[in-house]
Symmetry: C2
Subunit: 482 residues, 2 copies
Amino acid sequence: MAEDERTLDGDDTALADTPEEGARPDDRIDDARMDEENTLKREFVRSVEDALDAGASGELYDLVEPLHPADVADLLELFDKDDRHRLATEITDLMTSEVVAELNDYVREEMMEALPADAVAQIAEQLETDDAVQLIEDLDEDDQKAILAELDPEDRIAIQTALSYPEETAGRLMSRDFVAVPEHITVGDLIDFLRDGRDLPDDFFEVFVIDQRMHPVGTCQLSWILRTPRDVQLGDVMKRDQTLVPAMLDQEEVGLMFQKYNLISAAVIDEDGRLVGQMTVDDIVHIIAEEAGEDALLMSGAGEGDINEPIREAYSSRVRWLVANLGTALVASLIIALFGAAIEQLVALAVLMPIVASIGGNAGTQTMAVTVRAIAMNQLTSSNTGRILWREFRVAMLNGVTIAVLIGLATAVIFTPLLGAVIALAMVINVATAGLAGVLVPVAFERLDQDPAVASSVFVTMITDSMGFFAFLGLAVAMQVV
Amino acid sequence: MAEDERTLDGDDTALADTPEEGARPDDRIDDARMDEENTLKREFVRSVEDALDAGASGELYDLVEPLHPADVADLLELFDKDDRHRLATEITDLMTSEVVAELNDYVREEMMEALPADAVAQIAEQLETDDAVQLIEDLDEDDQKAILAELDPEDRIAIQTALSYPEETAGRLMSRDFVAVPEHITVGDLIDFLRDGRDLPDDFFEVFVIDQRMHPVGTCQLSWILRTPRDVQLGDVMKRDQTLVPAMLDQEEVGLMFQKYNLISAAVIDEDGRLVGQMTVDDIVHIIAEEAGEDALLMSGAGEGDINEPIREAYSSRVRWLVANLGTALVASLIIALFGAAIEQLVALAVLMPIVASIGGNAGTQTMAVTVRAIAMNQLTSSNTGRILWREFRVAMLNGVTIAVLIGLATAVIFTPLLGAVIALAMVINVATAGLAGVLVPVAFERLDQDPAVASSVFVTMITDSMGFFAFLGLAVAMQVV
């Protein structure tokens, strides 16, 4: 590559000197407004509240204007519905499409529903297709139609095409703006083409090389293009081996693909293998965070669990699991009822029995959380389920014996040695059961094509509760404690 | 930008025709080896196992050779320790640094410990600094020293500098390979400089513009450079407003920054504001997934919860929480013991009391999961804690009343109306308590600078268990059921 003249003043390093001084960037480490965790300071939020209450529009504008759009979105999310609408009205000029794109889904939906269709259409037109789709997809069908009718035909078709793919697939999420060129051109041709650049996306990180049927044949990162002399053929710079995303692929799998192969962007292809869009990692990052974080919420039975979710939705998603939990608790109660006579004779049984159930439940939840995570990360496959089950059983036995010794000794001292032996044995049985259930229940749901994070918890708890009471009370009767 | 000549055969679109045919890319939708979830097929893993057992080295090599390094890493992770070492020995040529970089932390550490220092040093030299640091940081200090001694001085210093930053900070994780140029050069100068490119990183997505003190003054995405005529000054293309990452910032905050501002890469600065490295989103993606996923594991008390974690480490991290849970279960038992006389008189109390505790525990876990997630995403700040607490209390009251009606009616029918009233009232009290505790406990840990995901669970369960037994048994006595 030595044929190119160099103009960097013969300086061999990348670091030459600049004459200017004092051009400190607005570097977003913004002490007046943001704290060290990069969230809005409480004092700042208070002054916004005060200005809002005082109706001081000018002051409000001055306060909000310096914020990054993502921080304006954060600010809006901090307020309740009424204050949020008042604030948005006061700072209309600052409510850019970037702010709307950064809003929490629930908050955005609620704000869009309050706006007339043409106002939403105006915002949608300024957004990139993928953000516009997100804006529109959650609205009622009537609202969707009204907004689509207001759009330019080109934007409307792009959004309708996206909406024709199922939710949470690559086709729905992809961007339709990308750069695709034929293989036979040179690097110089490509640079000239880009400089001419009508209809190019604002930001892009690679150029896709396609054949005449629009099938991707290779990919070229921009840094490779910049480092290559103008007369080299693109076919000699590009990488033929590339990761293609089928348009029907679920977003969770797309996220895992990006993680696994360290992708920055990837071509999306339709069923015929034609290039139809691209996904970039900055969109995927949100999906990865969402998918990775949602398992904790799903396992707890909290549904989507967003603090901005409307109360009636939060109620309906949570109460379902509490009712299911009521059912499993009744099973445990039935088992206790079987041993009513024993409890009447020795009330210590009623005092101690929740301990066995509680520790079993906890041990089961631990194993289940590990298993659900491993399934979500594609780490646990049919090839290693047996090995992991054996591993978890051994961990459970170690845990069970440790806890059994502690509670067994304490019970032996406070009550009787026999009761100590009973509770210790029941504890080992229940923790071992918990270890097996914690693997087998989520694996079974996965095999049945059900999300293991959603329903495993109820079943694991039912198993450990019932087994806890049954083993303890049953052993007490069998070993003639009563 | 019309002054540049165009050479794309007058074709106005990005899609021109190529003469070649049939150059289908190796597109990693690889039916023989990978299933639709992009994990290794069981049959493929079986044939590797069979070849390994048969000692058929040639066959093994042929099987593994077509895999992407990330899939070779996945394959190794599927085997247990002994088989993994045998496989690695058989396919030494395929054990590239890329494979090592993609291995699970535990598996990598275990494999590296088995290798002599010079072999590890050889691998480390082929890796980028950030991957090499990851390779070395978990080893014993003696092993670290032995490996560092084998490295080139330049690599050694880079790794030692990285290790001088605390774990999980930007300084430890950043890459020291980046492109930084002064502001006064033109786009053409920059392209020529890049083409000359000694010591440039393989992939980069933006060029940092710095002043003579090495302070970043702006940033330039490669796509902007490619779209700009050669004679334009860099200062006129670059964006002055950029997000800078302090080297001491925790990785979780770095991940949130990348998410919030949709970054692809960002400059890392030291305490004096000098550019010392860059972080790119492909490294951040793993951190975001890890941080988002770990809360489910931490809340369950499963520690790091990786299925590759050695059994003794899994045991020690989990048993700690089970012992803590034993303590909280004892508190609940003490409360039951207070009401021993009442239980002796009416064994139905022992049968029903776990239901109140169990539903309360579940409701508390739901609220806690939502709160912990909101704290982790910086959504819950001191500005909106009061509003969220009120929101969760209302959800809890709705849930509590629903469940109370169900269990109250059932109990009234099976036992007595009075007992039905007691359990219904106890249920409302306990679910409401659960809602408050589910917010207040994690928020309190956050204020005390403790990770709310780690210890909240034990406390919330203790509160809901104790309150469940106390409210139910206490009300039974107070309302003279017994």
